[in-house]
Symmetry: C2
Subunit: 128 residues, 2 copies
């Protein structure tokens, strides 16, 4: 099995520049509209495909992995670890959230919620 060769593409490089040139943390549609200013007939599918490729090659970051809302009946303070192999979510006690309060005071933000999500491989999946 040969490794798949990735070819140069004008569209992909333009999309990369668009994402790298901003601090707004854009969604796909924003990238699409901005890139169309440079390549007017680029298609939305091309933008999505290349954003995914750029994430895979580590050249940009994806801020949310699952585009789906999830719920938790446990409203107490805790964080989350998700296993990317089996998909299971673990409640973990990781961070004393008081550190956010001092951060908020320092920067004059008012913090309403924190969401710390770790992703990786859980013990079960590492063992098997």
């Amino acid at each position: 099995m040969e490794p798949i060769k990735q070819r140069y593409s004008h569209q992909r490089e333009t999309i990369l520049q668009v994402v790298q040139s901003t601090l707004v943390h854009p969604n796909a549609d924003w990238v699409y509209k901005e890139t169309r200013k440079i390549i007017p007939n680029i298609s939305l599918g091309t933008v999505y495909r290349n954003l995914n490729q750029l994430v895979e090659s580590g050249r940009i970051l994806k801020l949310k992995d699952e585009a789906m809302v999830r719920y938790d009946g446990n409203t107490g303070q805790h964080d989350h670890f998700r296993c990317s192999k089996c998909g299971k979510w673990y409640d973990v006690e990781l961070i004393d959230q008081s550190i956010f309060k001092s951060f908020a005071e320092k920067h004059d933000f008012r913090i309403e919620s924190f969401n710390l999500e770790l992703e990786g491989t859980c013990k079960n999946c590492l063992d098997s």
Copy 2:
């Protein structure tokens, strides 16, 4: 303007019990399927509406607020703060990610990515 009265609803209480009875951090569809085992003809719209109401009243948590993927051209270590008023995302340097490594070793997890997102109101929006 009178406050809107919330009436008791068998469906809402059942949905709450379903979410509270599990640790799987379900999405709406899972809640829908489970609740249908108890109320076979409950509709998907009712599940979504009540999940949102339960979140608003603080009886359950919503793990992801925006059901949309966002990208970041800055691949260096940093966290995110999102202003719920103006929607702007701020890069913040908040946590030394080495604490995750010791956590992972302690629990035999392998961590591949961290995602800390704070939400609240930014200085700009607090001032105006």
